[in-house]
Symmetry: C2
Subunit: 179 residues, 2 copies
DNA sequence: GGTTGCATGTAAATGGTTACATGATTGT
DNA sequence: ACAATCATGTAACCATTTACATGCAACC
């Protein structure tokens, strides 16, 4: 699923500028399972526009570049639907956090503790935000948010309830630098 | 965290060939949070070898290319430790599954149901494998496996207990192709 | 007879990110 | 003064994947 399709998805929810689409990937509901930067969003939007999948209207603003508001064209809606009907590629998770923790026994316990605590705090903050979200989203978005909440809560709970066990297991042995 | 560091991590657990490292990312414990293909592993191994971070010994085999067994050199161990002490980049999840589900209301319920059922089956299979893993792993690996089990279980349970609710919400409205 | 597994490697193509360029406004 | 927010866009760079090249053995 490329950035073009992702943009169509965002636009299906509401008209938006490139800048606003970027925010959807930074702060919006998509942030948890997809990401895109300006360098990919702006060219994608231009391509979509050239293909007639989206429409643009320029919104003049004082002392700022015109804001280009994109909206989904009927052809774009069909393209999105077609993409939604393809088999999803397997999920890809890249977590340096889990990779590092896999080698906890080589690390100073203080570092492991700090890593885990920071992660718990992050999950709890996300949970507060996601649970406080009382907007009447469409059914799909509500369902996906529910998965996110369930998963983040499970992860935070596990970290909290097993942290001390891990810390005890790796003891207070120092960082073992060979040589 | 690049493929070179990932390879050092795999080699810290046991000596391995490029082919075996690939398997660690396909079937091993790392598969859930990092991935790498031959096209990146083999060059990485050559670079690590040139830098003196790993050592190679060729294992002759009949009717097959020599198997090159790599092992972590002291310099490599230090490089790994240094990498483990850096701040982990934020987790990056790419899930077409969740993206597609976000738009469940546009899709035929049968498709949504099939998508969810397949995913539940996948989680349950992974859980069986992970729970059946009774090896005496180091503390870090055990802890990380515990997180994986907790998270997959939470996801599978949520999907199972909210599937019918979602299906009911999207009704039996047909695929809405505009125009 | 075709696929899968073993085993290594390269080159081209991909699909992005990062950094740069520009610039006013608002907050600290 | 400095950073952040708003706003768009390009180009260089990057890491990685995909496809190719090679070839035998075992299984179905």
């Amino acid at each position: 699923m490329d950035v073009k399709t992702l943009c169509l998805g965002v636009l299906s929810r509401a008209d938006a500028s490139g800048y606003e689409i970027k925010k959807a990937f930074e702060e919006g509901p998509f942030r948890h399972f997809h990401q895109a930067s300006f360098g990919s969003i702006y060219p994608a939007l231009n391509a979509l526009s050239a293909e007639g999948l989206v429409e643009v209207r320029a919104l003049a603003q004082d002392k700022r570049p015109d804001k280009k508001i994109y909206s989904l064209a009927p052809k774009g809606r069909n393209a999105l639907l077609a993409a939604l009907m393809t088999n999803p590629a397997p999920d890809a998770v890249r977590s340096d956090f889990l990779f590092i923790l896999s080698f906890a026994q080589y690390l100073p316990p203080a570092r492991v503790e700090q890593l885990i605590n920071a992660r718990i705090a992050w999950y709890r903050e996300m949970l507060t935000r996601m649970e406080g979200c009382t907007s009447e989203d469409p059914a799909g978005a509500r369902f996906v948010r529910g998965i996110g909440i369930a998963v983040y809560r499970a992860a935070a709970d596990y970290l909290e309830s097993h942290r001390d066990e891990l810390l005890a297991a790796i003891g207070d042995g120092d960082l073992q630098v060979a040589e």
